[in-house]
C-alpha cells in the first residue's frame, strides 16, 4: 500500500513537471507561429504581385505594343510549301 502511494505521488510530480515544461515551451511558440504566419502572408503577397507582373508582361496587348515600339512589322505575305513538289524534274 505504501509503495503504491509513493509511486502515485512520484507520478503526479513527474507529470506536473512535464506539464510545466510543455507549457513553458508552448507559451513561446505563439510568437513563432505569429512570425510564420506573417511570413506566409508576405510570401503570398509577393507571389501575387510577381504573378501580376508576369501576366501583364506576357499579355498579347503588351507584347504587341512592345513589338511595335521596337519597329517590328506585321508580315502579311504567306509562303506555302506544297508537299507535292517533286524532288527532281526531267
Amino acid at each position: 500500500m505504501k509503495k503504491l502511494v509513493s509511486i502515485s505521488v512520484t507520478m503526479v510530480l513527474i507529470l506536473t513537471l512535464v506539464q510545466v515544461i510543455v507549457s513553458n515551451t508552448l507559451s513561446t511558440t505563439g510568437v513563432k507561429l505569429g512570425d510564420m504566419q506573417d511570413q506566409i502572408s508576405a510570401l503570398h503577397r509577393e507571389n501575387m504581385i510577381l504573378e501580376e507582373k508576369v501576366l501583364k508582361a506576357s499579355s498579347l496587348s503588351h507584347i504587341s505594343s512592345q513589338a511595335k515600339d521596337m519597329g517590328f512589322l506585321f508580315d502579311k505575305s504567306t509562303v506555302v510549301i506544297s508537299d507535292h513538289i517533286p524532288l527532281a524534274k526531267r
Binding site: T29, G30, V31, M48, E51, E52, L60
Partner: protein, 559 residues
C-alpha cells in the same frame, strides 16, 4: 400517505423534466451560439476571403485573374496641412482636391481616399512618409488582356451587401462556380496579442472558386478584336461584331464586339456597352438568312440546285407589295445556285412559297430560330417567331430573304454552322472544362441540339455557298486558293414602321475550308457609311480574318 408520496414523486419528475429540457435547450439547441459567444470573449473571428476562380483561354492564359490592390485612407486627425497632403498625393493618385479636402474636414478617424491602387503606387506613397496616410489590402479582379473579349468575359462588381459578384458574360453566368466560399478563422490570443498554438486549428477553411477553361483562342480573339475595330473605323460604322465557332463541337473560338470596355474600369463606361450584343441584340439578318431557307427547301425536296425559278423575270407582287431584287436586275429562269449567287430576292420568294409556311416553321424550329441557343453566357435573348395564325403571305415571302424576322447573331451562326457540320446543329459553348481547387476537372462535352438537314443536303448547300463566294458580289475580296462557303447580307433596319434605305446592317457569314470546316464565322457591321452593302464592308473583314485563321491553323490553299 401513498397518495402524497405519489404527488411528491410526480412533482420531482416534473422538476427533473424541466431541468432536462433546459439543459437540452442550452447544450443542444443553443450550443453553437453559446460556443461562438464563449470564443468571442477570448478570441476574434476573422473572415478568410476565398480567391475567385480564374478564367483561362484555350492556351491556359488567364484573361480574368486576381491581384492585390490597396485602399488608401487617411486619418483626418493626423493631417495638419490639408493642402500639402493633397499636393503630395495628387501626382500619384489624380485626386479631386475639393472632394478630398471635404473628406479631411470630417470629424472622423478614417476616411477613404482612393480604392484599387497597385503595389508600385503604394510603395511610392509610403516613400513620401505623409502623416495620416494608411493602406488596406484587398483582392481585386484583374484582366491582363484589358478589353480583350470584354463583353464575353463580363466583370466583377459589388452586390447589395458589398460582396464581389460577377455581372454579364462568363463572370455573371458562372458566378457561383467562380466565387468560392469564404472561411472563418478563430484567432485566440495570449496577453501579448500573439496567437496561441493549441487553438490554431480551430478554423473553417476557405474554399477557393473554380477555374474555367474556355475554348477562346487568345491569338484569334486578339486578332479579331483588332481587325473588327479597324473595320468599324474604316467603314464609318456605328458598331460591329464577329463570332467564330467550331461547327463540329459548338466551341466558340472568338467573340468580339466593338465598341467595348475595360472590365477592370467598367464604371468609366456607359452601361449600354456591358451587354454582349452577339447574344443580346436582335436584328433582321437579311440575305445571310437565304442560306437557311434554301438549305431547308433542298432538304425538303421542294427544289433542286437546277430548279428554274418561274417568277424571277421581274418584281414579284404579294399582298399589295412589290418585292424587288437588291440591284433591280432580274434573271429569267434562273436556277437555285444562281439565286444564291445573285442573292435574288424574287428567287427566294419562290423558294419560300414552294416550301410552304408549315415546313418553314418546322425548319425554323430545328435550326433553332426563335429559341435561345443555350450558350453559357449571361444575357442571351431569344428571337420571337409569330404563331402560325398570324403569318400572312407577305411574311412568308419576306422571311425567304431574311426580312421581317429577327434573330440574334449567335442564333444565326449556330444555325448556319449546322450546314458546315453535316446537318447537325451543336450547342454553342465557351467553357470546355471546370477545374476545382483540389485539382479535379469536369469536362463540358459537345452536345448535338438538332439535325435540321441531312448530310447530303449540307454538301449540296456547301457547294452552292462556295459558288456564291467564287462568283457572287463579294468575289473581289475572296481568298485565292481556298474553298470558302459564304453568303453576304445587307439588311435594312426597320425604323418607325418602315425600312430606312440608307441605314443597313451589313454582314457576311461563311465557313472554311469548305470540305472540312475548321470554323464558321459571321461578321456584322451596323450602319456602315462608306457603303451600305455587306459585300463591300463585312465581306472584306471576313476574308481578312479568315486568311489569318487559315494561316494560324496551318491550312494550305487547296487549289
Amino acid at each position: 400517505m401513498t397518495g402524497r408520496l405519489n404527488v411528491a414523486l410526480i412533482g420531482l419528475l416534473v422538476l427533473f423534466f424541466l431541468i432536462l429540457s433546459r439543459l437540452f435547450y442550452w447544450q443542444v439547441v443553443k450550443a453553437a451560439e453559446l460556443s461562438y459567444m464563449g470564443k468571442s470573449q477570448y478570441g476574434t473571428y476573422l473572415k478568410i476571403p476565398s480567391a475567385r476562380g480564374e478564367i483561362l483561354t484555350s492556351d491556359g492564359f488567364p484573361i480574368a485573374a486576381n491581384k492585390i490592390a490597396y485602399l488608401v485612407f487617411a486619418n483626418p486627425k493626423e493631417v495638419t496641412n490639408k493642402e500639402e497632403f493633397i499636393n503630395k498625393l495628387n501626382p500619384l493618385l489624380s485626386l479631386d482636391p475639393a472632394s478630398v479636402s471635404a473628406q479631411l474636414s470630417l470629424d472622423r478617424f478614417w476616411v477613404p481616399i482612393q480604392d484599387g491602387i497597385d503595389n508600385d503606387t503604394k510603395e511610392k506613397i509610403e516613400s513620401l512618409k505623409i502623416p495620416g496616410v494608411g493602406f488596406e489590402e484587398e483582392s481585386q479582379r484583374f484582366y491582363p488582356e484589358a478589353s480583350l473579349a470584354a463583353q464575353l468575359v463580363g466583370f466583377v462588381g459589388k452586390d447589395q451587401l458589398g460582396e464581389d459578384r460577377g455581372y454579364f458574360g462568363l463572370e455573371g453566368e458562372y458566378n457561383l462556380q467562380l466565387r468560392g466560399k469564404d472561411g472563418i478563422a478563430v484567432s485566440i490570443h495570449d496577453a501579448f496579442g500573439k496567437p496561441i498554438l493549441s487553438h490554431a486549428e480551430d478554423t473553417t477553411k476557405a474554399i477557393d472558386g473554380r477555374t474555367l477553361l474556355t475554348s477562346i483562342d487568345r491569338s484569334i480573339q486578339f486578332m479579331v478584336d483588332k481587325k473588327l475595330k479597324d473595320g468599324v473605323e474604316k467603314y464609318g460604322a456605328a458598331s460591329g461584331m464577329v463570332g467564330i465557332i467550331d461547327p463540329k463541337t459548338g466551341n466558340i473560338i472568338a467573340m468580339s464586339s466593338y465598341p467595348n470596355f475595360d472590365p477592370s474600369q467598367f464604371q468609366k463606361y456607359s452601361a449600354d456597352l456591358y451587354k454582349n450584343p452577339f447574344i443580346s441584340n436582335l436584328y433582321e439578318p437579311g440575305s445571310t438568312f437565304k442560306s437557311l431557307i434554301m438549305a431547308a427547301a433542298l432538304d425538303a425536296g421542294v427544289v433542286k440546285p437546277d430548279t428554274k425559278c418561274p417568277i424571277c423575270e421581274g418584281p414579284v407582287s404579294i399582298g399589295g407589295y412589290d418585292i424587288r431584287t437588291w440591284d433591280n436586275n432580274y434573271f429569267k429562269d434562273t436556277n437555285m445556285v444562281d439565286v444564291i449567287q445573285h442573292s435574288d430576292n424574287t428567287g427566294m420568294v419562290y423558294v419560300a412559297e414552294k416550301l410552304g409556311l408549315d415546313r418553314v416553321l418546322s425548319y425554323f424550329n430545328s435550326f433553332g430560330i426563335g429559341k435561345a441557343t443555350g450558350i453559357d453566357l449571361q444575357g442571351e435573348v431569344s428571337s420571337y417567331v409569330k404563331p402560325r395564325e398570324n403569318w400572312y403571305p407577305i411574311d412568308l415571302a419576306t422571311a425567304g430573304f431574311g426580312q421581317g424576322i429577327s434573330v440574334t447573331p449567335i442564333e444565326l451562326l449556330d444555325a448556319f454552322a449546322a450546314i458546315a457540320n453535316g446537318g447537325k446543329r451543336m450547342e454553342p459553348h465557351i467553357v470546355t472544362q471546370i477545374q476545382t481547387p483540389e485539382g479535379d476537372t469536369v469536362a463540358v462535352m459537345p452536345k448535338v441540339l438538332d439535325s435540321p438537314i441531312s448530310e447530303k443536303t449540307s454538301k449540296v448547300m456547301t457547294e452552292i455557298l462556295v459558288n456564291a463566294v467564287e462568283k457572287g458580289e463579294a468575289k473581289w475580296t475572296k481568298l485565292p486558293g481556298y474553298r470558302v462557303a459564304g453568303k453576304t447580307g445587307t439588311a435594312q433596319i426597320p425604323i418607325a414602321g418602315h425600312y430606312d434605305p440608307n441605314k443597313t446592317i451589313a454582314s457576311f457569314i461563311g465557313f472554311a475550308p469548305a470540305d472540312n470546316p475548321k470554323f464558321a464565322m459571321v461578321v456584322i457591321i451596323d450602319r456602315p457609311t462608306t457603303s451600305i452593302y455587306g459585300a463591300e464592308t463585312a465581306a472584306p473583314i471576313f476574308f481578312d480574318i479568315a486568311k489569318d485563321i487559315l494561316s494560324y491553323y496551318k491550312i494550305p490553299p487547296s487549289q
